[in-house]
């Protein structure tokens, strides 16, 4: 009789395609993708990233968090018969049959150098560091390129007008992959512009809560040192008791 698998073994077995790579014998549906022009047969339910790994690529560039947060795996692709270039993150885009793709793992865009503490919160800051922003021709190519579906052109226009709130809000989910800048016919650096706008907004729009100021002051005055020194010396038994009896703040 086959030995009964433990719970841990069953969990590991069910996840093995994710943890050790896909095994061809488990796959029913296949598609053909073209990596820089060369054809590979890959399982249909993989992402561009995992499909390339299946095909034998070991990434040392063009990969980072693998979950859509870091912007390292920008990819440009075209579907067969379509003239249009699409953009996406390799880790977040499922492969499609007859997809032609290339990764763009680096964008040589220049970031301005500034000291946020020395700036005035006024509309000219963006123009001062990124004068090129005035060249925006409102073609919306950046918006179409954004894998986060942000309204890039709108935030650029807002930044140009010195509307920090709109620029910050609209650009907040930016993962700084640089695809906007790579596609921009006016050669703006949208994602760097957005970074400056957000920092200005965050730094100067919101006063520090009074209670935070007070708490930092109390800590600097060593107000809690006595009780903290006491608890640092508490035994495990004492800690268990205090933990069990601690009050939970009401919802």
């Amino acid at each position: 009789m086959k030995k009964k698998m433990s719970i841990m073994d069953r969990i590991a077995d069910s996840a093995k395609s994710v943890t050790t790579g896909v095994d061809a014998k488990d796959i029913e549906h296949w598609v053909t993708i073209y990596v820089m022009g060369r054809a590979y047969e890959v399982p249909a339910d993989l992402t561009i990233l995992t499909a390339m790994e299946f095909a034998g690529y070991k990434f040392v560039r063009g990969v980072g968090c693998r979950q859509g947060f870091c912007g390292a795996c920008s990819t440009v692709y075209r579907r067969k018969g379509d003239y249009k270039l699409q953009t996406g993150m390799a880790c977040q885009t499922r492969v499609e049959d007859e997809m032609y793709l290339v990764q763009i793992p680096f964008v040589p865009a220049e970031k301005a150098i500034y000291d946020i503490e020395k700036e005035n919160y006024d509309v000219n800051v963006i123009l001062k560091y990124y004068p090129d922003i005035a060249r925006c021709v409102s073609c919306n190519t950046c918006t179409k390129a954004c894998p986060q579906d942000l309204e890039v052109m709108d935030y650029v226009q807002a930044a140009l007008k010195g509307d920090f709130e709109k620029a910050a809000e609209e650009s907040f989910d930016c993962i700084q992959c640089g695809l906007c800048a790579a596609r921009c016919p006016s050669e703006l650096v949208q994602y760097h512009i957005a970074q400056l706008a957000r920092r200005m907004y965050g730094r100067y729009e919101f006063p520090e809560p009074e209670y935070l100021k007070k708490r930092v002051k109390e800590i600097n005055e060593s107000k809690f040192n006595k009780e903290m020194e006491k608890i640092m010396k508490a035994s495990k038994k004492e800690l268990e008791k205090l933990y069990a009896e601690r009050e939970r703040e009401s919802d």
């Binding site: 433990s6 073994d9 920092r199």
Partner: protein, 553 residues
């Protein structure tokens, strides 16, 4: 056979279970299962991957000889170094720096800024990254950062919550540093221009975290780590601190007598090495999710391969609490493309409820992570009340539509744009349908032992962030990891700055410690081809690998 037909992202049989979830939703709206008693917690924890039989062994060499740890970690500690003295020319250094920082996530980047802030010139600091600057777990942190700043909260509460969550194994002086510096870190983030969620009156919008007794979680939508890291990296770049990318450390350098004197970096594209000589070295290399301990999927980034712990151990550093691993209760279990990805705990603190296949709420949603994760395993594999996906994974529902029932329409778009975006890509509307979750490998609880300033037992070596051990004990609480990186990144930056200003040690560059390490391995009878650090995991297809030959060597 045609591909499976999906309705709103789910196959029909999963839809049937979703119907049951819908039927019980309004009843569950005002009902939360009670929290476990300490005895019940203990009982369910037996199912936790840390305590379930198997998966561990005892370490056979080094300062922690005899300690138990996960087999996957021990495989790397009981592996041969990548390089030996004969492989490299140590007669001169390519970089001669005061402070070398290895790893550019939140901890390493914060350390660089604070070293500079403390008087070390930018040219005397070097930040080395394995991938790009910022390819780190930090940037993926979703939920938030804890800081006991509100009047009805206290450092003591934060300390006690963390201590209880960590099963009283936390190192007291290091934990004290964490809670003590937290409010200051929030102040620093504001000064840098981070945009932190606010109430209408300007107060921070503070949320619950699992295992906390007060609302002290500060978030930036569900992109907390991204926002924190973006402003910190921008500040780092404005200071023009030297930074090199795609240069992992393959070994630390020592003087042969226990002092760390720099590192050997390796160009991951060309294969060329560089020698860095440094008065102080800070390891900020993150954790080990990509080791897939016990075969679990992970939330971690591509480079999370335990490098720092391996390098430090080669040089003779002490480790602690390496026996425990954090599994985040809510990793995505469906669809297959996102399995293991993180679904922030903030979903539960905003009202989403864990529910089984029959639509029953079966656990208090905000137990500490190890307890919550264990209860999901129990529901799926003991009570058989989980939902099985088309690829054979099991999971339970996280009833996300409850979030908008409790907080009003539009709330998910505002608070969870990252989650929404991820599910939208697979045609799942998490405002209307629940999402399927199962525990996923999330965090290295232990690591290299430190004092409250990040200093290790070795002269010249500091650590900060996930690579360190002690502050979280045996189980980290939500919102304490981003906090850890910034508190101890800053402390390591300040401490190394002070050290390099006041000390002028002779910096001999040797790899004698690797020779000694190899001897220990041999004496312990370890015969293996394993070499470490591994730097990157390998997901290449088996068919492609089977036909690979290397003709350039």
């Amino acid at each position: 056979m045609a591909e499976m037909k999906l309705i709103g992202g789910y196959p029909e049989y999963m839809r049937e279970s979703i119907k049951k979830v819908e039927q019980t939703r309004m009843k569950r709206k005002d009902y939360t299962p009670p929290a476990f008693t300490p005895e019940e917690q203990k009982e369910v924890l037996k199912l936790h991957p840390d305590f379930a039989p198997g998966g561990k062994r005892k370490l056979s060499i080094g300062p922690n000889k005899g300690d138990k740890g996960p087999a996957e970690v021990l495989d790397l500690l009981e592996a041969y170094p990548l390089i030996e003295e004969k492989d490299v020319d140590l007669s001169s250094a390519d970089y001669n720096t005061e402070i070398l920082i290895i790893g550019g996530g939140l901890a390493g980047t914060t350390a660089a800024i604070w070293a500079n802030e403390s008087g070390v010139k930018t040219k005397d600091i070097l930040l080395a990254n394995k991938l790009r600057h910022g390819d780190a777990n930090s940037i993926m942190a979703e939920g938030g950062t804890q800081a006991a700043d509100r009047p009805n909260d206290s450092l003591l509460r934060h300390y006690l919550d963390t201590m209880g969550g960590g099963h009283y194994a936390n190192k007291p002086d290091v934990l004290n540093a964490l809670v003590n510096d937290a409010p200051f870190i929030m102040q620093w983030l504001l000064k840098l221009g981070a945009i932190i969620d606010r109430e209408e009156n300007g107060d921070f919008l503070e949320k619950w975290g699992g295992g906390t007794s007060a609302k002290r979680l500060h978030s930036c939508r569900d992109y907390t780590g991204l926002e924190e890291f973006r402003v910190i990296r921008d500040e780092f770049r404005n200071r023009e601190i030297p930074c090199i990318e795609h240069y992992p450390a393959v070994e630390l350098l020592t003087d042969g007598k226990g002092r760390v004197t720099g590192a050997v970096l390796w160009n991951i594209e060309t294969g060329e090495y560089k020698i860095v000589k440094a008065k102080a070295t800070i390891l900020a290399t993150g954790g080990f999710g990509r080791l897939h301990i016990r075969g679990f999927p992970t939330t971690n980034h591509y480079g999370a391969t335990c490098d720092g712990v391996v390098l430090a151990y080669h040089a003779g550093a002490k480790l602690r609490d390496i026996d425990t691993v954090q599994y985040h209760p809510t990793g995505a279990a469906y669809p297959i493309q996102i399995v293991g990805y993180l679904l922030t705990e903030k979903l539960r603190s905003s009202g989403a409820q864990p529910v089984n296949k029959d639509g029953e709420a079966f656990v208090f949603p905000l137990e500490p992570r190890d307890v919550e994760a264990s209860s999901f395993i129990k529901e799926c594999y003991v009570k058989e009340k989980g939902i099985t996906t088309p690829t054979g994974l099991r999971g339970i529902w996280l009833d996300t539509p409850l979030i908008e029932i409790k907080n009003g329409e539009g709330y998910i778009d505002k608070a969870f744009p990252g989650m929404r975006r991820m599910y939208n890509r697979f045609d799942i509307d998490m405002r209307k349908d629940p999402v399927l979750v199962f525990p996923t490998l999330h965090y290295q609880n232990g690591g290299v032992e430190t004092d409250p300033w990040g200093k290790t037992n070795l002269d010249g070596l500091w650590v900060a962030g996930e690579v360190s051990g002690g502050v979280h004990g045996k189980n980290r609480l939500m919102g304490n990891s981003t906090l850890d990186t910034m508190v101890f990144g800053r402390r390591a930056g300040i401490s190394t700055a002070e050290y390099v200003k006041n000390n002028n040690p002779t910096l001999k560059l040797t790899l004698k410690h690797t020779k000694e390490y190899i001897k220990q391995l041999k004496d312990a009878g370890i015969k293996t081809k394993r070499r470490a650090p591994i730097l990157l995991p390998d997901y290449r297809g088996k068919a492609a690998l089977a036909r690979m030959i290397d003709v350039f060597q």
